[in-house]
């Protein structure tokens, strides 16, 4: 191949690249539209909800879906649609906060272990193995039960059980790159080990991390909802998908299926969105996907 190849078109802008990823893969486009919907609901939920999510109306308890109440009402006569919409903010906040925490802590620990190796690596890996040896949900239950029944503690518990996945992923990604030519070249350019790790090696681990982040957001929502379902974490009457499913479960037997179904569907939709989002996010942060 000749050294002076024909000039390729100018480098794509970041926005242009995101546009390309979305156009190229309709599934990603759908995932991002659903994600946008979730974000809108999280920010403007209270404004969009047709009723006050906490206002009970005993005369209209347990009504099936109708034009007044699209998703029906629960045993206290609260509008389920409003409660589902308003709960979006709380559920997303818990999962995003938990994933952000485990992303940051896991990246630092994993990068250090992967780059320096030796006893740091051995010690850290064994600690993470210990966490992973517990049934993770039971561990989260234990943490919340021991530390107290608050939203922050749900976030911490979710972050701790997700931490090993990030740490292991980053450790592997850093480990295969620590002797790559570009890392050595960065050292020759006068970068200290810490700078090489933080500015040259770690950013290259981002594409696979994005897949993990997006899958984890889904798991984190399920985990928070699961804790609430069994009575740990968020307390009634706060609107939260997990509690709503738990409350509704009692009425399924007596035929009032809508009380549990709609918050359950919201959960499914959110988890589904995050699972679909992963590949698209990875393609967006990977410069090699640009041409």
């Amino acid at each position: 191949m000749s050294d002076a190849t024909a000039p390729a078109p100018a480098r794509q802008s970041t926005l242009g690249h995101i546009g390309y990823v979305l156009r190229d893969n309709p599934v990603t486009l759908v995932a991002f539209l659903m994600f946008a919907l979730l974000i809108v609901l999280a920010f403007f939920g209270p404004m969009l909800a047709p009723y006050d999510p906490l206002a009970s109306n005993a005369s209209r308890a347990l009504e099936p879906p109708s034009w007044d109440h699209w998703f029906g009402t629960d045993n206290l006569g609260r509008d389920i649609l409003s409660r589902v919409i308003v709960a979006t903010r709380l559920d997303l906040t818990i999962s995003v906060a938990a994933v952000a925490l485990s992303f940051i802590a896991g990246s630092v620990l994993g990068a250090v272990a992967g780059y320096w190796g030796g006893w740091v690596d051995a010690g850290l890996s064994r600690c993470l193995d210990t966490i992973m040896a517990f049934p993770l949900f039971v561990l989260a239950m234990g943490i919340v039960a021991a530390m107290g029944n608050t939203v922050e503690n749900i976030v911490y518990a979710t972050a701790i059980i997700n931490l090993p996945f990030y740490a292991r992923l980053v450790r592997a990604e850093v480990n295969i790159r620590r002797n790559a030519g570009f890392a050595l070249a960065a050292k020759l350019s006068g970068n200290s080990d810490a700078r090489v790790l933080a500015l040259h090696i770690f950013p290259n681990a981002l594409p696979p991390m994005m897949v993990q982040v997006s899958l984890n957001l889904g798991w984190a929502i399920l985990n928070a909802a699961g804790l609430s379902f069994i009575g740990l974490g968020v307390r009634p009457p706060t609107a939260e998908w997990g509690i709503m499913v738990a409350e509704g479960a009692n009425f399924i037997v007596s035929g009032e299926w809508w009380v549990a179904l709609f918050p359950g569907m919201a959960l499914v939709l959110a988890v589904f969105t995050f699972n679909l989002l992963g590949d698209g996010l990875r393609d967006m942060v990977d410069p090699r996907r640009r041409t």
Binding site: T5, P7, A8, A180, L184, A186, L188, S189, G190, P287
Partner: protein, 544 residues
């Protein structure tokens, strides 16, 4: 005629629309003949061979043409018939022997699999036949090696296993795709001698695909030269090499390092400029004394470098030559201060660099004066950084420059190494191999080092680009007065650039002297062996 290919066209579907990888080529192979397909990367030579066996990657398809093998139309044969033909009638040796073998299966079993797939052996006879096949490719202790896993064998031994696999069912046509790339030069000779001997003994035909014109000329009856998906010239090997008709073939022949060539004569005649002279001074710049590196291995200490000493004078280029595992890379890592020696001294401009640990050397004021050009240009550039950012990196850390001055310096460097300025904002994957090599060189010389280590800077490049890069390095040396330590396994290339040569083997220096002296009158048998193993292309008749 055993195989005939007429007007073959292969198209790949890509993000930018269809790309024609092979654009209408005609080839034929007679019974008992070895055809060499020579071309540089991207010329479509491998794609051609994959098309013959219909094993193109997803997205690739044969658009037009006929492939007839012994009366069978390979293009339209049903998949069942193709599966029988692959391995039994036509078989293939792949480029990288390690990735061609299943890493978690014993090599003997892998040979058995092929034999039994094509009904050449039963459960009872498979083992004996597999050992027989291994003995045919001159594997000593074949019965013992039968139980080895690929990772337990050397690269050359793995390639022998791959050849045994390919020949197990006595195919009539063997396709070898870059069979010796990545092997040491002495192993390359052993493998190619073995292949050509087996081909002759069994009366097979063969297609050898290679980027090395010298290798093809030595082992093939006829050569087809490919460029950009087309065959530009075919002819008898000697004719193609000694009297090339096509301009591209002539350029390839010129660019192939050979006896008696000067560095400028590798370039096409029309771009040759007078060679710039460099004058080494008698002042020593770098003196390496008794350098030792011992790694703590799981099964005891590994002595990678056992007391190496050599000197590089100011303005001089010294070649450090040896095969893989001889300790040349470990030595260069220690000299460039990426690795701490176990013992010994690295005297640079009168000071012992070995006293500063490698960890602390990044902040040492002498960091800027020793830089390195890495072996694999692709691997040595951060995939997330543009070319500009990569060249700028040492300037950010080691030079006190304003951001304005840095950008000017990057442009100046790009001009110096011949990298077009509009390529500066490209990412590495958007650059060609030669362009990436230029970025790597620009980065290394950015902070005006006095001493540059070149770690096989041309090993991954095509010969024509190798010629350009070697000349660039020679020019830079003359313009900037740098000293080089040129690490390489290829004595022909080393001779072109170096004033003196140090030959290493098993962590020790076995011979040192001026390039001329070492090449013409090697005093150590190992050096003589290295020189003899390099393919010797026929000498071209100088046109009047």
């Amino acid at each position: 005629m055993l195989l005939s290919v007429k007007d073959l066209k292969v198209v790949f579907r890509t993000r930018r629309g269809p790309v024609e990888a092979v654009r209408g080529i005609d080839l034929h192979v007679e019974a008992g003949e070895t055809l060499g397909i020579v071309g540089e990367s991207g010329s479509g030579k491998s794609v051609t061979s994959y098309a013959l066996l219909r094993i193109l990657d997803a997205g690739g398809s044969i658009r037009a043409g006929d492939i007839v093998y012994g009366g069978i139309d390979l293009r339209h044969a049903p998949e069942r018939q193709m599966a029988d033909i692959r391995g039994r009638e036509i078989s293939m040796i792949f480029q990288n022997p390690r990735s061609a073998l299943n890493p978690i299966r014993k090599v003997g079993h892998q040979i058995e699999d092929v034999l039994r797939r094509h009904n050449r052996a039963t459960r009872g006879t498979a083992r004996a036949k597999a050992i027989e096949a291994m003995e045919a490719v001159k594997i000593r202790d074949a019965a013992k090696r039968y139980d080895a896993y690929p990772f337990e064998l050397s690269g050359g031994m793995c390639q022998r296993i791959v050849i045994a696999l390919a020949l197990a069912c006595d195919p009539r046509l063997l396709i070898a795709d870059e069979p010796t790339t990545g092997l040491d030069i002495t192993t390359q000779k052993a493998v190619m001698d073995l292949v050509s001997q087996l081909i002759r003994e069994r009366g097979m035909s063969a297609i050898v695909i290679t980027h090395d014109l010298g290798l093809a000329a030595q082992y093939c009856d006829r050569i087809a030269v490919m460029k950009d998906g087309e065959v530009v010239e075919t002819g008898r090997s000697v004719d193609v090499f000694t009297a090339p008709r096509h301009a591209y073939t002539r350029r390839l022949v010129d660019a192939t390092p050979r006896d008696g060539a000067s560095i400028r004569s590798l370039l096409p005649a029309e771009v040759r400029t007078p060679e710039l002279t460099h004058t080494p001074s008698p002042e020593p710049l770098l003196r390496v004394q008794d350098l030792v590196k011992t790694f703590e291995g799981k099964s005891g200490p590994v002595h990678a470098v056992k007391g190496v000493s050599f000197t590089v004078h100011d303005g001089e280029t010294v070649g450090l030559v040896g095969e893989s595992g001889c300790g040349k890379s470990t030595t260069s890592s220690m000299v460039v201060r990426l690795l701490d020696p176990t013992s010994g001294h690295i005297m640079f401009a009168g000071e012992d660099l070995a006293k500063t640990p490698a960890k602390a050397f990044a902040r040492d004021p002498r960091r800027a004066s020793i830089q390195m050009v890495f072996q694999d240009a692709t691997d040595s550039l951060n995939p997330r950084h543009s070319a500009e950012r990569s060249i700028e990196e040492p300037l950010r850390r080691l030079a006190k420059l304003s951001s304005r001055a840095r950008i000017d310096r990057v442009r100046e460097l790009a001009d110096l190494v011949g990298l077009p300025r509009h390529l500066l904002d490209r990412f590495p994957h958007q650059l060609s191999g030669g362009q990436k090599a230029r970025v790597g060189i620009a980065r290394a010389i950015a902070v005006n080092p006095r001493f540059l280590i070149l770690d096989e800077p041309t090993a991954a490049l095509d010969v024509s680009i190798q010629a350009v890069v070697l000349n660039l390095l020679a020019d830079l040396r003359a313009k900037l007065g740098m000293s080089y330590l040129f690490v390489s396994h290829d004595l022909h290339v080393v001779r072109l650039l170096c004033d003196r040569v140090v030959v290493m083997r098993d962590g020790e220096v076995v011979e040192a002297g001026t390039a001329e002296e070492v090449m013409e009158h090697p005093s150590h048998p190992y050096t003589a062996e290295l020189i003899a193993a390099a393919p010797r292309p026929p000498v071209r008749h100088q046109a009047a």
